[in-house]
Amino acid sequence: MERAAVPSMIREQRLNQWIEDYSDSILRTCFLYLSDQTQAEDATQDTWIKAWKHMNDFERKGIANEKAWLLRIAINTCKDYRRTAWFRHVDRSKALDELPPQLIAVEPEDRTLTLMVMDLPDRYKQVILLHFFQGLTTQETADALNTSQSTVQRRLKKAEELLKGSLTGGVTYEG
């Protein structure tokens, strides 16, 4: 595998810039995927480590969309984290309670919607997070997930239906 060396200063600057631009959104994506703050922080750190290590690939392949590339790494990292017995017992609603206090007032509907996203099966959660939350296009989402654009569109449609179906009547059990 040929490696074109990226000068270390450029790598540092680039990584710094990425962390500055995407740190929060990658952490939140990992959290929504893993439902555990500590694990999400670890997965985020792993994502940066992998991005750092693979920066030569990034350069050599001329990847145009750095955000999609980073999110792809983050999602694959989270996928690997999930392959443990521990993750079967995570309670997503408790995970939200254990977060630091919100910086802004949260409407019950928003909280419910977030919980619903966390509760979606992975394939739908992935497209929702990448397309709706991270703002990737359907093509970028497809690239990040290694699937076709039409598959992404189908999953988005289904995910939207699932979310809307679950959000009947707003929030009853807010405590």
Binding site: M1, R3, N16, D24, V106, K164
Partner: protein
């Protein structure tokens, strides 16, 4: 009326809910410190000037400008420049602050444009808060163009998209006007309608805008690639009798790429109340206050034949809507406007913003139900006068019958049905307070002494979506938290109570429970902790070090924590350095600030700064989850001496070796020198040697002084000539470091590494790499495999290995982590045989409850892992294990969801098999 799950909506929901989750430790500190002081929200204190500006906007008549700007001009000339200036296009998470929002609303007012009083933007402004930029701009545009983004003309969408690119919310200009080479809009719309009619019926009156609202979009996924341009049309029904239809196609190949779909409900077939409510929410929006009178009546009528599940979360609301009629106002009824006016007067609060008003009829009584939102004013302090209110107005006389504020016990029907029907509907359904009471009874059955409902002792939290999670959060460190889970029909399970009396060893945990993560504590917390520790006698090392350390007041030293942090960061010389944990401890000759410097490297130094001179007193290494936390709150001379006394020299030597020679990126640094299969321990007083047992392994020698400080830590080649046996089954097999240089034949550098036998590399070579010489082709292979087998857990093992190799970091490949996929031993069971054995075992436990057919319908996912953790004991198995998932296809999710799992060894021995119907998947 339809409310889309737009990007902005999803963003706002996740962003606000997770706003406390971010990577800046000091932001977290500020938030948690303020939360500890009792504030319910955190926000900037308003300046006197801003308060005045807001008051002027809200109550004063504003002189209109001579030449009025339009909505679009205000967006272009005020809203966008404000958004660009305040963040230089950092991203989509941005908000206007209170000052900027006030300036924008002032501009609107000066040009004769007012936003509705109960609009969220105005509510934020009234409370002195900022608001999301994208939502604010969208609101102004909605007022100008009507409907939602997708119902706007293509020109309007194009204009809006350009603004979003300008602000930095969208990366490229994708929604756009068709060019000369593209289809004309009229032709595209006609093509779309033709396709819907071909699929769903020629007589559909799709042009009737009283039936359907038309959403449309012309977009280019890649603005530089004309072939990526496409059209999308959706017909959104305006009532529940009509279906939703959607079409999309590429501009260059409409016939070849067209995709048509529909959501059509057949209400002549049996349906549930939840399905019905879901459809009403889709058509009429989730904000029930906005529903028209006739929608309520239709819901009432259709609920008569709906099935209502008594354990569903909406059961009470659905019952209440089924009982209540929603007639059209008649001659004897006061008007909607009069009812709203009387209801608002009765509240006597100018902040009351209208939610909705609906005429109800129950047991012959006609009542207007009028609802209002009152947001807290002031600085985010809890305000009892704020909340969601429902006022009942007699529809004949206008008399106020009732006025209630929604409590945590109430349901969504609270404001839209009369009180009598509302209460009647609760029969047989548990309210939040009853759930809490059930939890209390069940917990006290096990722990009779817990005074759970004592408000001075516990704060009660009850939340949850499909189950209630009830937490009694301790308000005092003398007692711990108590948690449980309650099903919707009142079954209590999973009780967990921390009832241990306060002692020197759990004081630390209790402080964490009360104050949050210790890395963000202010010095005053450490001072309090020291006082609370007096009189306690800790046994464990962490508690003993707390007890042995004095934490002075910050005011007693010259250098305060902000300056100390600056000095600490300078000491590391890291540009990206940040500080976490900053605690002042007593030391000679002066107190010392101990802090952990967060860097983008694996070893995070712990630095000590003299609190009088600013000199660097010491630096230590820290690795999260590996280095003990007491390193951060006690002086090295204190903890080292205690470690030597309590944990011994071999332990300290091992830590020293790991810090110096181990790879700190790894969760569990690989130099596991106390693994006696690989290293032999020799101790000669304070000289410790770990001797490598096998050829090629390193040996280590560490010398400590009497206080536990490392005098010497050296690495040397092992004198052993004995080869390490292969396939010992050990989980921490040593792997020599490879070089990341491509192999001469161009194959990846890790190719042929001896963590797998050569025959398997050969096999892989034959399978994948005969024609494909690099891993660059992996993405294409992954795509094929996803299509052929589905998710990666269904892939053959060797494909999973390739996936791992592609995504793994160099470090992971040099020292593979615990659960990396490995090659099955050819002399043992094959993947297929293992899956069969696992399925048979699953049959034995699941057949009785679920039936053989159900078990046969499961799809088996499998992976052979280097090692695994026993879920019951939390310990490693210490050998290769097969992890098997039993997945069931769930139509609702169109997805395979795991309902059980098994763990087997390579000989097919079943270590664990389990049915887990409640698994999260």
């Amino acid at each position: 009326m339809r409310e889309d799950l737009s990007r902005a909506k999803m963003h706002k929901a996740i962003d606000s809910t997770l706003s406390g989750l971010n990577g800046d430790p000091w932001l977290f500190q500020r938030v948690s410190a303020r939360a500890a002081e009792g504030e319910t929200k955190v926000k900037k204190k308003l300046s006197a000037g801003l308060v005045l500006a807001i008051i002027m906007i809200l109550i004063a008549a504003v002189a209109l400008a001579v030449t009025l700007l339009t909505h679009q001009e205000i967006v272009e000339q005020v809203a966008v420049p404000l958004a660009v200036d305040n963040d230089a296009g950092v991203g989509v998470n941005n908000t206007y602050n209170a000052e900027e929002l006030a300036e924008l609303v002032r501009s609107l007012n000066e040009n004769g444009i007012t936003l509705e009083e109960n609009n969220r933007i105005m509510q934020a402004l009234q409370n002195g808060q900022g608001y999301y930029e994208e939502e604010t701009i969208m609101e102004i545009c909605r007022q100008a163009f009507g409907g939602n983004y997708y119902t706007w003309t293509l020109e309007q969408q194009d204009w809006y998209e350009k603004l979003m690119v300008q602000i930095g919310f969208h990366e490229s200009h994708q929604t756009r006007m068709p060019g000369e080479d593209n289809m004309k809009y009229e032709d595209a719309e006609a093509f779309a309608f033709r396709k819907i009619r071909e699929a769903y019926g020629q007589d559909l009156p799709l042009e009737d805008r009283s039936v359907w609202q038309l959403s449309r979009q012309f977009y280019a996924e890649n603005p530089d690639d004309p072939a990526s341009a496409g059209w999308s049309f959706t017909l959104e029904p305006k009532d529940i009798d009509h279906g939703q239809y959607y079409v999309s196609f590429y501009d260059k190949d409409p016939e070849g790429s067209v995709s048509v779909g529909a959501n059509i409900h057949d209400w002549s077939q049996p349906y549930t109340g939840e399905e019905l409510m879901s459809h009403f929410n889709t058509v009429y929006s989730w904000s029930h206050g906005q529903w028209p009178q006739e929608a309520w009546q239709r819901l009432h009528e259709m609920l008569q034949s709906a099935e209502i599940d008594p354990t569903s979360r909406d059961a009470q609301a659905l019952k209440a809507f089924r009982m209540t009629e929603y007639p059209a106002p008649g001659e004897k009824d006061i008007s909607r406007e009069t009812a709203i006016q009387k209801a608002k007067e009765s509240l006597q609060d100018s902040r009351a913003a209208l939610d909705g008003a609906v005429l109800t009829e129950y047991e012959g009584k006609r009542i207007w139900m009028v609802s209002f939102v009152i947001n807290p004013s002031g600085e985010g302090i809890a305000d009892d006068t704020a909340g969601f209110f429902a006022v009942s107005v007699d529809s004949e006389t206008g008399t106020i019958l009732d006025s209630r504020k929604q409590s945590l016990d109430d349901s969504t029907a609270f404001a839209y049905v009369p009180v009598d029907a509302y209460e009647k509907a609760w029969e047989g359904i548990l309210r939040r307070s009853e759930i809490i009471q059930l939890a209390v009874v069940a917990i006290q059955n096990e722990y009779p002494d817990l005074d759970l409902m004592n408000e001075e002792k516990y704060e009660v939290r009850a939340d949850g979506y499909k189950r209630w999670n009830v937490t009694f959060k301790a308000k005092d460190i003398r007692w711990g938290n108590v948690t449980t889970s309650v099903s919707m029909d009142g079954i209590v399970s999973d009780i967990s109570a921390d009832i241990e009396p306060l002692n020197g060893d759990n004081l630390w945990k209790r402080y964490g429970q009360a104050q949050g993560y210790f890395g963000q504590w202010e010095q005053s917390v450490w001072v309090r902790l020291e006082k609370d520790m007096s009189g306690l006698e800790p046994v464990q090392i962490g508690g003993r070090l707390l007890k042995a350390t004095h934490y002075p007041e910050e005011s007693s030293v010259k250098i305060r924590h902000e300056q100390a942090q600056e000095l600490g960061m300078q000491a590391t010389g890291k540009r990206t350095a940040k500080v976490n944990t900053c605690v002042l401890v007593d030391a000679k000759p002066h107190p010392v600030w101990i802090m952990r410097i967060l860097t983008d490297e694996a070893d995070e130094p712990v630095v000590g700064i003299d609190a009088e001179t600013g000199d660097v007193v010491f630096t230590e290494q820290f690795k999260t989850d590996y280095t003990p936390q007491y390193v951060l709150y006690s002086m090295p001379e204190t903890w080292r001496k205690m470690e030597l006394e309590m944990l011994g020299a071999p332990y300290m030597a091992k830590v020293a070796i790991t810090h110096k020679f181990g790879d700190m990126w790894l969760d569990e640094p690989e130099l596991d020198v106390d693994n006696t299969d690989n290293w032999k321990l020799q101790q000669d007083g304070l000289v410790i040697r770990y001797i490598g047992r096998w050829k090629g392994m390193k040996s280590y020698e560490v010398e400590l002084d009497q206080n536990g400080f490392v005098l010497r830590c050296e690495e040397m080649d092992s004198v052993s000539t004995e080869e390490k046996p292969k396939n010992t089954g050990e989980s921490n097999e040593f792997v020599p470091a490879p070089t990341p240089t491509p192999l001469p034949d161009g194959k990846p550098w890790f190719w042929g590494m001896d963590f797998a036998p050569q025959e398997f590399w050969d096999q892989l070579d034959k399978l994948f790499f005969t024609h494909v010489m690099t891993m660059d082709d992996y993405p294409a292979m992954e795509k094929d495999w996803l299509e052929a087998f589905g998710e990666s857990e269904f892939w053959p093992q060797e494909y999973q290995i390739v996936r791992y190799l592609y995504y793994a970091t160099e470090e992971q490949l040099k020292q593979p982590d615990l659960q990396y996929p490995v090659f099955p031993d050819r002399d043992r069971k094959s993947q297929k045989e293992i899956c069969e054995i696992a399925l048979n075992a699953f049959h034995e436990i699941a057949d009785v409850g679920m039936g053989k057919e159900w078990v046969d319908s499961t799809k088996v996912g499998s992976a052979l892992l280097n090692d695994g953790i026993n879920p019951d004991t939390g310990k490693k198995y210490g050998k290769h294990v097969w992890w098997i998932n039993f997945n069931v296809w769930e139509e609702e999710f169109s997805s395979w969801i795991p309902k059980g799992y098994a763990i087997l060894d390579e000989d097919g021995n079943v270590l664990i098999v389990r049915l887990e119907l409640s698994g999260n998947g």
